[in-house]
Subunit: 357 residues, 2 copies
């Protein structure tokens, strides 16, 4: 009783003005006498009024100022990867300057696995959001897309499939990989293994055969594999990983480097995977790059690789986040921005060299 938080009406009456005048004093969106404004602000201070309630403002304007970022099943899986973190950082920063906040929305609920039924997190259907960003991959058949479309929430996709009316922000995965592969063939490599990112929703780890190749439903994975073909190379073996993590790369490399006709080079689709490949090579007693060359993708810091510098395709991660942010802004302004394709750069390190004689 009595000590509920003051509203704009309270402030207005304390200052002896009308509510709309008080509103102007805060928003500044209209002419107001400096003295009136000061009086309103003084009244606000004395009442402990901290500014207009965002809930009222939202309802009135139809905008919440909230951008949902849809993350995979679990945060710890999606964001153990510094790649995602850096993109998110660029996004949060860009949106922040526009007064927009980022709401983390899991695609599926965190508590219990419900077996087969692809249950969606209720937040997807009920949380306030002006736009949704699918920051890292999206499967074309994802129920997430359907749910958002049903709500009429505009979307921005990072690294995903092309969808009608959905702005896309990607990088030159394909030509970047091609350039990397040409670097290796230029050094004389002929048997090159590929360690890939996940293929789709169900995560597996192991050698990819023709039938599995048909199930490939993750855009960056596909693009980066296509880069091999562009360079005129058929991988000696393709090993799929279950996630972009060091230990996954290690497991995949143990498979890729086994067998009689060992590849002389391994191209991993992420730097973390590449780091795992290096560890596996070390465990197998192989020197890098004398016995086997290793390359990655992303260009993140890996301080613990020690004296080695990974050969990799550097992608502009923060810029990707910013581009996603600008696409969001454009959408909110009523535009429908076209796809953005950011440039990558091949960085030659010390982990690639000529194949063993």
């Amino acid at each position: 009783m009595g000590h509920s938080r003051p509203t704009l009406a309270d402030v207005a009456s304390a200052a002896g003005v009308s509510v709309s005048t008080a509103s102007l004093a805060f928003s500044g969106a209209g002419p107001i006498a400096a003295e009136t404004r000061a009086r309103v602000l003084a009244a606000a201070t004395s009442l402990g009024y901290a500014g207009p309630n965002p809930l009222g403002r939202s309802l009135r304007s139809g905008r919440s100022g909230i951008v949902a970022v849809v993350i995979g099943d679990q945060l710890r899986r999606s964001f153990r990867d510094p790649v995602s973190i850096q993109v998110l950082d660029g996004l949060v920063g860009t949106l922040g300057t526009m007064g927009l906040g980022v709401l983390l929305v899991p695609a599926t609920p965190g508590d219990v696995a419900t077996g087969d039924a692809p249950v969606l997190d209720p937040l997807l259907a009920s949380a306030p959001m002006d736009v949704a960003v699918l920051i890292w991959g999206a499967h074309s058949d994802s129920p997430v897309l359907a749910a958002l479309q049903q709500r009429g929430v505009p979307m921005v996709i990072g690294e995903g499939p092309e969808l009608e009316g959905v702005p896309l922000v990607g990088i030159e995965d394909r030509s970047g990989t091609a350039e990397l592969v040409r670097h290796l063939t230029g050094l004389g490599h002929e048997r090159i293994a590929a360690v890939t990112l996940p293929f789709g929703r169900e995560r597996r780890c192991g050698v990819v055969g023709p039938e599995r190749m048909e199930q490939l439903d993750w855009t960056p994975t596909r693009h980066r594999l296509e880069g091999f073909a562009d360079a005129g190379v058929v991988p000696a073996v393709v090993v799929e990983s279950a996630a972009s993590l060091v230990e996954e790369g290690q497991a995949a490399a143990r498979v890729a480097l086994a067998g009689p006709d060992r590849p002389t080079a391994v191209v991993a689709q992420s730097d973390l995977l590449a780091a795992g490949v290096m560890l596996a090579a070390r465990d197998l007693g192989l020197r890098v790059p004398e016995d086997v060359s290793v390359a990655g993708f992303d260009g993140i810091d890996l301080p613990w690789l020690g004296p080695d510098v990974l050969t990799t395709v550097v992608q502009p991660l923060a810029a990707k986040g910013e581009a996603l942010g600008h696409a969001v802004a454009a959408l909110l302004a009523g535009d429908s921005p076209g796809p953005v394709q950011l440039a990558v750069e091949l960085r030659i390190g010390t982990t690639t060299g000529p194949p063993p004689a």
Copy 2:
């Protein structure tokens, strides 16, 4: 015109019922005939109505369903650390089951450094939020605290100072460190170095003297140092790091292990720092643990440490996130939960052993 999204009123009139009845059909919070309900739902589907608008619901209920998580200056700094990610994951999961979403709110704006003035991110003042969580440390004089208190937003603090009426979730940093230090003294170590987490807002890297010790304003750093005293040990040298990162630990260790009277053991206040210490030791030609013992804190996975297993104090990270989530729930339910102190566990690995003879 005309194709604005349908409202509950539209659905109600299409179904031939009143708005309040239609509301009941969706919320289920009241008696309604199954047939009426079905009719409303059918009308909703045919109109493409995706459920009650969260903005209207929020204004009415006074709740946004949004929990702000205040992050440090930059995401990439705060969340490059797997420790924070795992806590955040536990928090997002727990809040998700209660229908609450997590909004990332930077403490300071991301775009430009404004020199001296400690500018706060405008989201802190204007974003909708029912509760704010300061997940990782809070300085007692932080303007963030003042801003939130001014708005009347209830807070939960992880690993921070005790504040009147603010629930705190912490771990047994102090006794955990003490136990670790006793393990080392039990092995015979007498000269033990400490590599600490940051001391406060201004990040430095280097040896800590008495005057700097007075400026210590970060709770976990302080607690973990106090653990030394509890074990009856005065560190041979205390080196402060600027962040919990591998390269920082490496830099700190280069300082700690220099000089004539080299410590025989290094206790780092995080596992990432400890990993850096190990790299530095390797660079200096020191074997671990034969020449120097190394211990950490956190218990995260470090697959690339190779055959070594780090001796460390394992803290329950996901459980910390869950505890934060439960504190939020309690606050929203009108309770004021007391402080929570989670247990830690000393895990002896292969990186600690007797000092060199």
